[in-house]
Symmetry: C2
């Protein structure tokens, strides 16, 4: 079976990170980076993004040592996007200390001809205008999934609504689902969010796992709407760095989907478990360190741990 | 197989409740009441508590129409314990508007001779001094489980520590686990809490389910410490009244355990699911209304829903 390629558009960046466990200066990061690394264990990935002069052979090899095509990463004059953030105490929320957009500020996504047969599109968390530009250049993909965040929900709602109308699957967290819907109850929120366009919705609950919500459009051939499905997150004693956990979740989830011949409810549910698995690795070390050094064997073992964690008859 | 009886000590009370969905004056409530109703679907229950003149045949029949023995409910002069509370917005937390201890203020638990062969003891959320008095009167029970709350953790820690040392299983929520341990991370918190005495710990996460943590003393014959286990909570669109959800969870959990011939990891995990099932019913109507009108068939159906919600191959 040919594994289908995922095209992901999003940030490729450097992160300066401080957490209760330590500090790192300008390590490779960005939503597209974390997503691509996590997804690459399941299916080939193609990245669309922009970097500056500070993105050299060492950073390139993080991608090219995996099955990740970076022909779509544009090299521009100037420096790469640089995010400075810290996490304190519970690490529940990142505190942004600095956002240097640099070359990302004037980014206009261009899709290489070699990417045009991609079947799966992932619109990582960037300006919805850019998400839409990429979607419009890829009208024939088989499935479109995406992410967003509070900033776009609050201040760019008109553009975001155009993206939401294009999505088969939206992957957001509790706070974003509540903000987007105006509903605190997550079941009520899921209905309002899916009414905005996404056929299916994955709501991430951080350390408590994630829930998938479905609509009649999720599996139109099925003749019924599957009930919600919950996947656990692994209880972890020592979170080193939560940066990129959500993108890694999305990469594991969507990578698994793209590796399967068709999107069925069973595939969707298994994908949620792989999302949790990749998110659980991501937080164990700073930046992309842990995902760079995992293996499919280790992923399979952790998948089994997730099953034992949640299944009565595992 | 003889079903083993649970002896529960705790409040039998009247609750005056206001939630976003409505208001009820002086409906039957109390931790022991919710616990007993939920557990009675699995095993016989015996209640130790105190009520006043306002507890009449109508209230009695709520217990006696199920397999609940109320010989241990003392009738005292005065009025029953009366709690007035409200829930707003998200209903995440109860706001206490009034606590009239009434006859509960001078309660000294006395255990009827007919209860002395009870094999399972549940110390519901009351003054740890009372919990300890009951424990001391029942030295030969097979298993002891209990609950507590912020007030006892903050202001009665010395007495509470004596109770914790007696427990096979402690059932508390995220906030209580963090407060009791001084640790935010729940894995770290679980270790510190179990070091205080409880052999096993169930931490409830509200709408996100519950996690069981184990120690070497949980199943001493097993020769290993089972990894944590997570059970989901049902996504519910309309919570009518959260009062008693935690007690109903404990009742379903412990009732199922008492109905089985031995406490194994598999029984413990299945019990967590039944806890979630009974909690999910409890919130659907005010007070004890929903638990009064459910059936074992309905419970079995909902157990299956919990399985489908969380199992890849349900």
């Amino acid at each position: 079976m040919r594994h289908m390629s995922i095209l992901v558009v999003g940030s490729v960046a450097f992160d300066t990170l401080t957490t209760p466990t330590g500090h790192r200066d300008k390590v490779l990061g960005g939503a597209a980076t974390h997503f691509a690394l996590a997804a690459s264990f399941f299916t080939p990935v193609r990245v669309v993004g922009v970097v500056g002069k500070d993105f050299g052979p060492r950073q390139q090899s993080v991608f090219t040592s995996k099955d990740i095509d970076i022909a779509g990463i544009e090299h521009a004059d100037g420096l790469s996007f640089h995010w400075t953030g810290s996490y304190e105490g519970t690490m529940a929320e990142a505190k942004t200390l600095g956002t240097d957009l640099n070359v990302f500020g004037t980014f206009a996504p261009k899709i290489p001809a070699s990417y045009s047969d991609s079947d799966y599109l992932f619109l990582a968390n960037i300006d919805p205008v850019l998400q839409l530009q990429v979607r419009q250049q890829m009208p024939n993909v088989k499935l479109v999934a995406g992410d967003t965040m509070n900033y776009w929900i609050n201040d760019h709602r008109g553009n975001l609504d155009k993206v939401l109308a294009e999505l088969d699957i939206l992957i957001i967290n509790d706070t974003e689902a509540r903000l987007l819907s105006g509903e605190h109850n997550l079941v009520a929120a899921s209905k309002k969010v899916m009414a905005l366009g996404p056929k299916s919705l994955v709501i991430k609950h951080g350390e408590y796992g994630a829930t998938a919500f479905f609509s009649a459009a999720s599996f139109p051939d099925l003749g019924e709407v599957p009930k919600p499905f919950r996947a656990p997150a692994l209880p972890i004693e020592q979170v080193v760095d939560p940066t990129g956990a959500g993108d890694s979740f999305a990469g594991g989830f969507y990578g698994y989907i793209a590796s399967q011949s068709a999107l069925t409810p069973a595939v969707f549910k298994t994908a949620l478990f792989y999302g949790g698995v990749m998110g659980s690795f991501a937080v164990e070390q700073f930046g992309t360190e842990r995902l760079q050094h995992t293996s499919r064997t280790e992923i399979n073992e952790r998948f089994q741990s997730f099953r034992e964690l949640s299944h009565l008859d595992a």
